[in-house]
């Protein structure tokens, strides 16, 4: 059993509260990613789970056992650090066997266990090298190996890919996904990169200012964000937000007018709503939702086109200063200054209250 439960976990540095009551249940063998902008408390929360930071209040339990006061080494966790944190004065072999040595395991047993893990990770040829003689990717792999050797119930990763270049990052992402399948343990992974979160996670925990903003599967968080923060943080290019006003509300639909688009009106197929006529709302439209189909439309002028090869991003506006981002695979001919219709389906649009809470 390696499930993990957080109950109203809090952390203050002096009078400043960085973790403001987190409740979270992580099932055995889940790959959970904590994601959020820098300063949201995701790394602190990971370090609290690891036992590297004290908990101000609340309870953390691993496998049903309360671990609040346990030393990091007694919690059944292993951690991979952002800088890898390999001991520079020890060889790869010694680095990997270090924890076992201090746990009093016999020398032969250490050698056997380390060699086994090294084989899985293809590290055999590097065993007698020192960290400074390894490339970034190799160090990363040794750090993972060192964690595996301890046979932890829960793996903790603290932005492990942020020091690698883009190509290696994609490569290691795939390796990590494979590894998780092979090891079949619980993984908690911290990153500020929403692409890493989307591609790796079984469950994404989006954090903001010490609070959990949303928990869900990657596609769930993408399709059904609970609030504007999550909608804006997940998805690339960033979702478009357009301000609107509720014009009329019936039992089956809601009419919203958009002041910055000549008060053009849009119908949302909503059955029930807390919104009243005259309320300010925000409409969220992902750049991918625009096309040549759909009932609703904006009349826009192209300001800038970015060609990525496969895909293009069109930045277009109606002269009000606001720009909409539109992602398309057929914009190679488009030039700035051109006028066009951007059509979309209102059923795909997200609707938020002025305060940023999702209505539908």
């Amino acid at each position: 059993m390696s499930d993990l439960n957080l109950r109203d976990v809090r952390k203050s540095f002096g009078s400043f509260e960085v973790i403001k009551g987190v409740n979270l249940d992580i099932a055995s063998r889940e790959f959970v990613v904590f994601v959020g902008p820098s300063g949201c408390g995701k790394s602190t929360l990971l370090r609290m789970i690891a036992g590297l930071e004290d908990i101000s209040s609340g309870d953390i339990s691993i496998g049903g056992k309360r671990v609040n006061d346990l030393d990091p080494s007694k919690r059944g966790i292993a951690m991979v650090f952002q800088s890898y944190a390999l001991y520079p004065h020890l060889t790869v072999r010694e680095n990997m066997g270090f924890a076992l040595r201090f746990a009093g395991v016999e020398k032969d047993a250490i050698t056997a266990q380390v060699d086994g893990v090294a084989k899985t990770l293809g590290l055999n040829a590097l065993m007698e090298r020192y960290p400074k003689e390894l490339s970034g990717g190799q160090r990363q792999r040794v750090a993972i190996g060192r964690a595996i050797v301890r046979k932890p119930e829960v793996f903790l990763f603290d932005e492990p890919l942020s020091n690698l270049d883009a190509e290696l990052r994609v490569h290691m992402r795939i390796e990590l996904a494979r590894l998780h399948k092979t090891l079949a343990t619980t993984v908690i992974y911290v990153t500020h990169d929403q692409v890493e979160a989307m591609t790796l996670a079984d469950k994404i925990v989006v954090m903001r200012e010490g609070v959990v903003a949303q928990v869900g599967s990657p596609l769930d968080v993408y399709d059904n964000p609970d609030n504007m923060f999550v909608a804006g943080f997940i998805g690339s290019p960033k979702i478009n937000f357009v301000k609107g006003v509720v014009d009329s509300a019936s039992k089956t639909k809601l009419k919203v007018t958009l002041p910055s688009y000549n008060n053009s009106a849009f119908d949302f197929p909503i059955t029930a709503s807390a919104l009243k006529v005259g309320d300010s709302v925000v409409i969220g439209l992902r750049p991918q939702y625009f096309g040549t189909g759909g009932k609703q439309k904006f009349n826009l002028t192209v300001e800038l086109v970015e060609h990525l090869g496969g895909e293009s991003f069109v930045y277009a506006g109606n002269g009000s200063g606001e720009l909409l981002t539109i992602a398309t695979q057929s914009a190679r001919g488009i030039k700035s200054g051109e006028k066009f219709e951007a059509r979309f389906d209102a059923s795909k649009a997200l609707l938020f209250t002025e305060a940023g809470e999702r209505v539908r």
Binding site: R47, A50, G51, L52, D71, P72, S73, K74, I77, A78, M79, F81, Q82, S83, A85, L86, Y87, P88, H89, F98, A99, F102, A103, R150
Partner: protein, 269 residues
């Protein structure tokens, strides 16, 4: 061109600086080969009196005893200072808080008090402890060197916090982290500190002069000074003695030079 001229100027300047620094040392060695009147007249060429000067020196002092005393004091003091100062520097940086920073600042303020000002109370304490004319009395006040604590604290800033975290996850206790991770990782810092502390102890003058009262207990540095303060000093002998007294620290410097420079400067890209 402009920039190259700049560099040439700078190198010329540095070379002059280097020469000015090295020059007195060369004169010292040259002086050891000359007789006293020649030295005072400013003779700057090697003479033939080296052996005579050395023989005169051995007749006046017990070189073996002096070197034994100096070595014993310097080695023990260096070892103890390394332990105390690196532990304190590590603790001040790792367990940092507003309180510990304030304590540290007040320690640094103590640096502004001349050692001479502290000698009287120290002497009284040593007398009360019946330690006058012992090597212990020489060593004790040097151990908690604020400067060396400061040096280790600065160096500790470059010790990656994630290594401590990794070690904690690997099950090491605080003292094990210090011993098994910090010490080996910071070895060039220790090498540089060893040189600095050893030199300071080897060349210490004021405090040993006051505390050590019999010839059997004195250090080579004190012996050189007393040769110099004779009514009519024989400068040739003094210079031989000075040169000999300098050799051990130079030796240590060259043995640890690589780590020293690495510890202090980092290597050229």
């Amino acid at each position: 061109m402009n920039r190259r001229l700049h560099r040439i100027m700078i190198y010329t300047m540095l070379s002059i600086a280097a020469f000015v620094s090295v020059f007195p040392f060369l004169w010292l060695i040259v002086g050891a080969t000359n007789i006293s009147p020649d030295i005072l007249s400013g003779k700057a060429t090697p003479g033939h009196a080296l052996f005579d000067n050395f023989v005169k020196l051995t007749q006046q002092v017990d070189l073996v005893q002096l070197f034994y005393n100096s070595t014993k004091i310097a080695v023990i003091a260096t070892a103890l200072t390394l332990v105390v100062a690196s532990l304190a520097g590590y603790a001040f940086e790792i367990f940092r808080s507003q309180l510990s920073d304030r304590i540290f600042a007040s320690l640094l303020a103590m640096l502004s008090i001349p050692f001479a000002a502290l000698m009287i109370p120290l002497f009284v304490i040593m007398a009360k402890l019946h330690l006058i004319n012992t090597h212990t009395a020489v060593i004790i006040p040097t151990i908690a060197s604020i400067f060396i604590i400061f040096y280790f604290r600065q160096a500790t800033k470059s010790f990656p916090a994630e290594l401590r975290d990794a070690a904690r996850v690997d099950g090491l206790k605080e003292w094990q982290i210090f011993w098994h991770i910090y010490v080996p990782v910071m070895r060039s810092t220790y090498a540089a500190a060893t040189i600095i502390i050893f030199m300071a102890n080897w060349n210490a003058y004021l405090w040993p002069l006051i505390v050590l009262q019999t010839n059997e207990m004195k250090t080579i540095t004190l012996a050189v000074a007393s040769l110099l303060s004779a009514y009519v000093p024989d400068y040739g002998v003094v210079m031989v003695a000075t040169t000999l007294a300098t050799l051990p620290t130079l030796f240590i410097f060259f043995v640890l030079q690589k780590q020293f420079v690495q510890g202090l400067l980092g290597s050229v890209k």
